[in-house]
Subunit: 289 residues, 6 copies
């Protein structure tokens, strides 16, 4: 079992089982927003997702599946120290590695996108043949942001430092510097918002997959509660279908990041995030039902 | 004429005539939210709809009709007592029955969805051959919610207690427990969000119809101001066209429910609700022009 | 030990011990707002208080005491059914009675003020010689509100039905009908906002005391997040000193009610409520240190 | 009777009588904010005051009086045209003059402070020996604001154009250009926030008085919902006592201005304004009880 | 060079050059909302657009162009006096005329729509063969609004007073009085929301064009921050493509109006407006790259 | 003159002179919130203060002084990189040192409190005999926060590392761990909220003084817009008088920190901050008039 020394207990996500041992997937929160370039507040994302999850149903009519049929455990939030970027990332790495050592799937709720870096690193150590699907409004492929190398605006570039761009599929990007759109040495697989669900699962094939969902891939009309909202995004239904279309794939790990409840006065963004987390839990555990 | 003892005077809805006697339709508010399972506040819906109605035009380019051409009267709000569910529902029943006894059409602004129960009961007594069209994100077909039988989450089930499921058409549902989606003894006619306007009026045919609009059928991007927002809903244009498509039907009564201005910091949800009420008034009185 | 069947687990209040058995005081939430006459939302009070408690310190410089020195346990929230007033009150009664049977002090976070009725009833059964101190902007001494007898506007009247008005001390009231201010058969002890802390503890003497704090006794400048804000109230410091002044009394039970986070866009009302709860825990357990 | 051609019907203020003829005071709204120098929105003030008045009690424990004992009539709002400053002011003048011709007291809810100019003009024509008490954070004694002579920042200067500065008492001012504080030809009677209630009524003596309350005299902690909030103001209790202290004076007319509900997310500013209006109605009609 | 006497310095829009002389386009703000019929606040639009522009990228993937490649200068805001409609409009006229005299393109950020009147007048004097493309939810073709001729609800009518309706193309209108939809002497070219980008540029041909964008043409789901939100509008992508489709036209001037940040609690409306301004700058200067 | 390479131009604070050379005081913003323990958002403080400063008067009736009489220059904001704590602090240090080398007074607008550390370091190098006056709700004297040594919760401890506790005067503290209240080796001079203005200037005497104002010393009723609001604080008038009482002292530098406009929906906190900055400018330059 993973260590709980750094974990804060919270109201568990809707449908969580009571004991970690029997679970196939371990959900945990990463309340970190230390490198946000525009609007901070993603640290409050994990708590908000749990709080509103109670207003959802456990049944998903798209996947025709129910949270009560799949064994996942909500471990709470990592107690990440404000102002310590490397310490926070290391905490996420150790958590994911501990989950892998238990032969369980780690699944993280952000927090900002930079937390994907240690999680992908742990996933790679567990599954060297990994591919990544990256839903996002941005590529996050800059080398630096105001001179800083570890930033939510550079996280995919740091991941590209770990392995080949051709093993990453970018979906939904609509903003960036010119190079991010054009340099194939940085990004080799870019499929904009009209991508069909089937296309993505075909690209994955039978390779193990890590899925990272930056929720700002959604249009700000339905998801204003995020740090860098980018008009022109996809609808909730599109994203839900993209994820549901991956139910047949072999999942290694996943994260859902960049909910900032601070900018969500109606509470709708938190509900959207919770419903996406529900879809991710069901899709990644569809082999367990 | 109906009794006004329980009515609170309010700024009348845009285009209301000055005298109740000459009206063909009586609009009234039901400021009740006593059984909301998640976020209350629908009690403030009726006042908000009137307040913003002044910002609308009386003319509707979709129906090519004008509120000044149809005689409806805004009677104000029922003075429903907080904490008394049965007393509040009974007040709505007596109001609707009084309107029917004057050979007028009752039209209610909610408040939460449970108010449809007494209104449908009064409508059934007036028109035993009634059918119901139910626009909603949810089926509301549970038998109980935390042991409570009279709840906004059970209102259609209580209506099903009154007559056959086959006389109810559900449109737009996208959330619920598994049984609500699959048991045809509970719901026999379910048409999801892609339903064409024509289809609905054909299903009705020449039967008298009661239309209940739970505004959470709309996507929360355009209608966040509601108690249980459900991502993945229809656009304003879709709902407006669905309702406009019923202009040729014979209307017996209607309600528009679940606006909660408390969760509408931009005021857009109230404007949406007022524009839907305008469409409902014009569609239900299209024979009068 | 009390039954946990009806309890929802939540992030525990700052400084809660891990095990109920060793605690001297059991804290629980009553997320109920079924009879609010104006603005609902108090159901979200208990969760908000816990969530922000993490931003407080455990040490209180006024009482010179620390939460880590007093053994209290946060049991979570009662799972109260919306729309069922009597069922909800009964659930609170059974919880308090179970706590008394364990020789512990029950302490409730509201929710609306009506929850004090079952809690006082349980306290009376445990301590028949009880007196009550009632901090509030309102007397809540009406016999009915719109014909309803069980209401947050009548809760003290229902308590007066249980025993003599002379055993209740009203502090801070500044709004009501004329009779509430003038009829001594209803209220015999009314001390407005200038009351000194010492005065209250002298009035109590060595009698066992139940303390009910309707947070709207505070001025809405510091506490806007409540259902019926009443301008002209006391400062946070005044209320804190009033409560701290009771540290030498013998406490039987207490509640802190009427936080409605829905009307608290800055989060300050929740922080105020949490700091008052901290003061109540420390004052009521001051004998334990 | 005054003409109602320009009046918009609204939910009447709490306790309003049903018929204008029998009333001693006519309340009306002036939804005008055409010259606001910083934040507009005062046009929504009159409607907000009525809407929340329902949450008040009719009884005032400070004046020991009840709205149901004094005959006042709420006539609704003047239909002032946006963009037409002079037309709007003229409409207010005609309304007040009509009320005076009926031997009733006009009482206006703003809207911005410039509406006091036509109201004072009408009052002067009715009572040439008038004095004015001016509660405000600002003197409003500039001659121009960005070259504009008719502005909420110049309204008292325009009133000074009508008669002698010595007949105006300024109370609560704490912001302005140097001249407003020092030139006695502009302002002869300035009494800052520590003024005692008695002092003001003594200054008035038996002269007929017009009272204008710019609500920004209050501290923004209790009254943020205004166009130019000015930290350092008086408490609600202070202002309430100042007004209550005028109950023995002979009132000719009054206004309460500069509530902007747009900047009042908690609703407290509107409640404060309504409670001040209640106090003004009771104080100005205290001779009627 | 234009006079800067009336200009307020502000954080310049993202990518503005440092010196006005070398620029081909002069951007300036018109913080005016003196005739808004419903919700004011557009005066704060220009500052908000600049403030959030920093969160954008300079590169636009739709136009494949970058702000750093086109020379435009942000001159700040005109210091328009509240309460003086004609003075404010005249200030805008003089600014635009000065820019034309420098052979530069004036581009204004509103502010309310009435500011288009003086800007179009200056454009006509510079280019008598002008045509106008008018993106808007409303026609703004009324002759008066509550008796007022200069109003944001009449601005196109006042423009029609200047030249022939056939030289104006209306796009996106969905609200108005019946005459605005039907009288071809008022509006001769009305193309609703399904208009293709190509269609518009074909209609323009090689005629010089002034483009006025009332941002309420967008659906309020993505753009709630405006004075008269109108459900049923177009998506951000649609509007962006419409504007991008005009990159090949000959631009004479343009404005983007009716952002009211007061009603934009999430900040998304301001971001949308800034991204539309970016698109307008790039499209109108596409000949310069 | 200081280098402007790292400076972002912004609307200058009300009354700023146009040229840096002639100024006696250089104002600059530090938009940094990288170590906030609870609610981030202070990065937006400097821009908000400038934006609302325009709504103030240049004249201060408390100090009987006018901003137009004192030469200060607003240099804009430092371009601090998110995620790089040490880099951001170093940027502030270099700015302050450059200002001292020009024989001007540096004055910073935060941003979070940690920015005081490099500013005090630069001040000490310029004036080794410095004393510090520290207005704050918290002592900020912890050695670590979750293991982090550079934090807004430890900033005074890091300053204590630089020189003796006896040279620091703490005013207004009301929250902390027990040691911060009791260990005189950490804090030797603690004067709670009842401190008289005169007392502070007497304590300073003729020693050069650096003044750091953490705005959360104010009560959250008047200043909710901050990261860690602490009920029970002082009024605006109290803080203003404290600062005004220092007008006779010899100022070496100052900062005003911890405004977070994100939690200030009414805008009042920003206005309060701007008025405090006005008072600080006038008090620190009172020798120049």
């Amino acid at each position: 079992m993973f260590s709980t020394a750094d974990l804060i207990p919270l109201r568990p996500f809707l449908g969580s089982v009571r004991e970690a041992e029997t679970a196939k997937l371990i959900l945990f929160g990463c309340p970190f927003d230390g490198t946000c370039s525009y609007r901070p507040g993603a640290r409050f994302g994990p708590a908000a997702v749990r709080e509103v999850s109670d207003a959802l149903e456990t049944y998903c009519p798209v996947l025709k599946a129910d949270l009560e049929e799949v064994p996942f455990f909500d471990a709470g939030d990592l107690n990440m120290p404000p102002g310590d970027v490397r310490g926070s990332l290391d905490m996420a790495y150790r958590m994911a590695a501990a989950v892998y050592s238990n032969r369980q799937i780690p699944a993280a709720i952000g927090g900002e996108h930079l937390i994907s870096l240690p999680l992908v690193r742990a996933a790679l150590e567990s599954e060297p043949d990994l591919v990544i699907v990256h839903f996002d409004a941005h590529f996050d492929l800059r080398n630096q942001y105001l001179g800083v190398e570890l930033s939510h605006a550079t996280v995919l570039r740091r991941i590209v430092d770990l392995f080949k761009p051709s093993r990453i599929l970018h979906v939904g990007q609509r903003s960036g510097v010119r190079e991010e759109f054009t340099e194939t040495e940085l990004q080799a697989n870019f499929y904009p918002a009209t991508t069909e669900p089937d296309w993505i699962s075909k690209w994955i094939g039978d390779r193990p997959v890590y899925v990272t969902v930056d929720l700002d891939v959604l249009d700000p009309s339905i998801f204003p509660g995020t740090g860098t909202p980018e008009p022109g995004g996809v609808s909730f239904t599109t994203l839900q279908n993209w994820i549901a279309g991956l139910a047949t794939c072999r999942w290694v790990g996943w994260d859902v990041v960049e909910l900032s409840p601070t900018y969500d006065p109606t509470g709708v963004s938190s509900i959207v995030a919770a419903k996406i987390v529900r879809t991710m839990v069901l899709a990644s555990l569809s082999g367990c039902r």
